[in-house]
């Protein structure tokens, strides 16, 4: 199956903004009608809190919530729905692994390994923890093109490494990392691996078990689902080692004034009333993605990026930032004489939505001698014709600023 022809018509935003060229998908994707409807239907027809009431509405809401857990598990290749916790997003998921799991494991002199491509969400939690525990944060650098060096990873892994935290696709320069190989290298040294799948989940083939990920995180809003919901997958062997970091209702076996016994993972991660409607929306987003062919989607995104890179680079004075060997649908660039913000402002006035800034990867850009880039990030509803339009806009901008 190739991509459905009329894919854009599934997204109401484009009915409301017919001329919109939405190239900020790495920040958040648009939502298809089915997701919006599922959330609205829940609030209109099915709303009740979960795991509380015995009346039919509550029981049905609880079932629907748990059905999405099973659906997520199946979609990402987990063996059991019990391997999947709902969180508020990737950032939340990563912080849970840092504070709920690694904090207990880490001793003075140990090390945590990340790559220079890390989003701040996959950097700061480790940096804070390393500082607190007098452990070392080791950073695998990237070459001038933006590729990680597997030899460097191999050199950095040692007896004192307690976690490798990596990113499937760099949200800033698009590098598609050899995640399976990196996991394999770490596992050979007995080091568990967290994969930040925020930029790839939904549109790229995924099986967390064949991949070998020990922790896998993603956000619903970057795969056509709602804001405020994310997932933390934990491989069974680590599940009894990840402790809750939030405490409250819905996560306990027995509470006494003197002590509390908690439920097992994943329930121990879901203190308080969860974002039930958000989880229902995530379920609808996954159903939407299940109808797509992930191999085709990945190809589509890469070919859009390849097309854009070639087109944009034809402009004199435009510089692509990062030319990684393998990449997703993300293109970062700078233009001589024009600051990324001004560039994005001009594009914005033409109905072209791009992002300007450091994209929450400040150290990476600094290492490349940059403070900011302009970034176009694509999704399934974007086309080469849209990129042609952006190319024309870029040419006009260059003319103005010369």
């Amino acid at each position: 199956m190739t991509l459905p022809q009329n894919i854009k018509s599934h997204f109401p935003i484009f009915t409301h903004h017919p001329g919109l060229l939405y190239f900020d998908n790495a920040a958040t994707t648009q939502r298809p009608q089915v997701v919006i409807e599922a959330i609205e239907k829940f609030y209109k027809e099915e709303n009740a809190n979960i795991h509380r009431g015995v009346y039919p509405l509550s029981a049905r809401a609880s079932q629907a919530y748990e059905r999405v857990r099973a659906q997520v598990a199946n979609f990402i290749g987990a063996a059991n729905s019990k391997d999947v916790a709902f969180t508020s997003g990737t950032t939340d998921s990563i912080n849970r692994v840092a504070s709920g799991y690694l904090k207990k494991q880490l001793e003075e002199g140990d090390n945590i390994i990340i790559s220079a491509l890390a989003h701040h969400a996959n950097l700061i939690p480790w940096q804070m923890l390393a500082e607190e525990k007098k452990a070392e944060l080791r950073v695998i650098s990237v070459d001038a093109q933006g590729n990680v060096d597997l030899n460097e990873l191999l050199k950095k892994l040692d007896r004192r490494s307690r976690l490798l935290a990596i990113t499937s696709i760099s949200n800033s320069i698009g590098t598609l990392n050899p995640v399976a190989e990196m996991i394999d290298l770490a596992h050979r040294k007995g080091v568990p691996v967290l994969v930040d799948g925020a930029q790839s989940t939904g549109l790229y083939p995924l099986n967390v078990r064949t991949l070998g990920a020990d922790f896998y995180t993603f956000s619903a809003h970057k795969m056509f689902g709602p804001f405020g919901v994310g997932v933390l997958y934990v491989r069974p062997r680590y599940q009894d080692q990840i402790k809750p970091i939030h405490f409250g209702g819905g996560m306990i076996k027995r509470v006494q004034f003197s002590k509390t016994e908690f439920l097992d993972f994943p329930k121990n991660q879901e203190a308080g009333t969860p974002n039930v409607a958000g989880v229902i929306g995530l379920g609808a987003a996954i159903s939407f993605c299940e109808k797509l062919d992930q191999v085709q989607c990945a190809k589509h995104l890469k070919s859009l990026a390849a097309y854009a890179k070639e087109a944009f680079a034809s402009i004199d004075g435009l510089h692509l930032v990062g030319q990684p060997k393998d990449y997703g649908g993300i293109v970062s660039f700078t233009m001589d004489q024009v600051h990324p913000h001004d560039l994005a402002q001009f594009l914005g006035e033409e109905g072209i939505a791009v992002r300007a800034g450091h994209h929450c990867t400040q150290p990476l850009l600094e290492s490349m001698g940059l403070a900011a880039t302009t970034r176009a990030s694509f999704s399934i509803y974007n086309s080469t014709a849209e990129i042609d339009q952006m190319l024309e806009a870029l040419k006009a901008i260059k003319k103005f600023w010369e």
Partner: protein, 140 residues
């Protein structure tokens, strides 16, 4: 260019962006004032020389968009020759202007050029980047 953009990127702003005033890194590290916008990574350094409570020379350097660079350039130019007190009231006046206060009281073409950020609220931070840093420095 559409009229909205033309209004934001006024001639004065483009001029100061292309040829910023005293855009130069200076030696006096201790007298350096940092202005930085954590959202976008834009960052300027200001270097003030002061004698007897008067700013005798001002320079700035760094990286930022046309709006922040032009506003920093205009600021640098206006700071020279002012007493600390005058400089402080200058900054407070500009910051108020961007927030829409006392618009009628200002009759300075270079400051008025920034009125269009009303239409682009996301760019207010760019316009005030340097002014806020200098204001904070002077109020210390």
């Amino acid at each position: 260019m559409n009229p909205r953009l033309k209004n934001l990127y006024k001639e004065v702003i483009l001029m100061h962006n292309a040829k910023p005033f005293h855009f130069q890194k200076m030696e006096n590290e201790e007298g350096m004032i940092e202005a930085n916008n954590p959202l976008c990574g834009d960052r300027f350094q200001f270097f003030l020389q002061e004698e007897n409570g008067r700013i005798t020379a001002a320079h700035f350097h760094g990286f930022g968009c046309a709006i922040s660079k032009a506003s920093a350039s205009i600021l640098t130019q206006k700071l020279e020759g002012k007493t600390r007190l005058e400089a402080q009231s200058l900054c407070a006046g500009f910051l108020g202007f961007i927030e829409g206060e006392n618009r009628e009281a200002i009759s300075d073409q270079e400051i008025e050029a920034f009125a269009a950020v009303d239409e682009f609220p996301a760019r207010k931070d760019c316009a005030i980047l340097g002014w806020k840093a200098i204001n904070d420095y002077l109020s210390k």
